[in-house]
Symmetry: C2
Subunit: 140 residues, 2 copies
DNA sequence: ATAACTGCAAACTTTTTGCTCGATG
DNA sequence: CATCGAGCAAAAAGTTTGCAGTTAT
């Protein structure tokens, strides 16, 4: 079953190797935001001859070609997600590390305004919210 | 001459060593946002017996006690600035690396709203804008 | 066939840490 | 003088790279 990433690999003129197919599958089906060593673990479950270096090289290559987007939250590790969906930012649950995607047109717009006021054209941004799940009652 | 950071070192019950005095001075007078190896270089100009490990340990200690704030832009290195001033975010000039501080009440407010809508209490955030200086005419 | 790709191990960068000695309060 | 801090070198953790062999096109 050829997923969207495989199609893009071909389209960008990359060779569709077994490793890349497998890595693409793992990335496409990852609904959390795993770092590279974790992706390697998942890939290795299927084929343990795939090296960590290959996963790193593949992620970098995929990002260069716009197939994946790279993020780096507070822990400093690189995380990737398919670039297909539309732009969004992230809210990280500080207790669990769970990453929630969100989108705020209002904030997007204001960012451009702020940049412009400072004499810049906005070419990118990084917005991460860190939050704690709201519960009815207070606990420890 | 005792700067604000030295006062805080005492106030927090840390020992005011020669190394810390010097590091505090360098940090206080740095108006860019240097990373740790760079701070070490500046400190070493004054006293080259101060080790890199000490600068790292001091930065971490200072951050834990709220004397400094740590940032990490796209390059992945830790950067520090005195925590004294009021909260602000950063715009990074992608061509020069220059860091500009700004503040947007509007964005601050919206972040809390977004978090709340997702069922979270906002406990922190990271907002960085990446921009290119606007010039009158277009170049290369 | 040949350029692209992979695996392996070694190298790199930034940051942390164990240990011993020295300095501060 | 008891403890906290500093220096040094080694270790971590994540990531990159040189090289030689393999594979997709």
């Amino acid at each position: 079953m050829t997923n969207r990433i495989e199609a893009q690999i071909r389209a960008k003129g990359l060779r569709l190797t077994g490793q890349r197919k497998l890595i693409a599958q793992v990335v496409a089906s990852a609904h959390d935001h795993p770092d590279v060593p974790e992706l390697h673990r998942r890939v290795a479950e299927e084929d343990d001859r795939i090296s960590l270096a290959t996963v790193y090289r593949t992620m970098k290559r995929f990002e260069e070609l716009g197939i994946l987007e790279r993020h780096e939250f507070r822990d400093g590790r690189a995380r990737y997600e398919p670039a297909a969906k539309r732009h969004h930012d992230h809210l990280i649950d500080v207790d669990t590390g769970t990453v929630i995607e969100f989108r705020s047109e209002e904030i997007e717009r204001l960012q451009a305004v702020v940049a412009r006021e400072l004499g810049f054209d906005l070419v990118g941004h990084r917005l991460e919210l860190y939050g704690r799940r709201r519960t009815a009652r207070k606990e420890s």
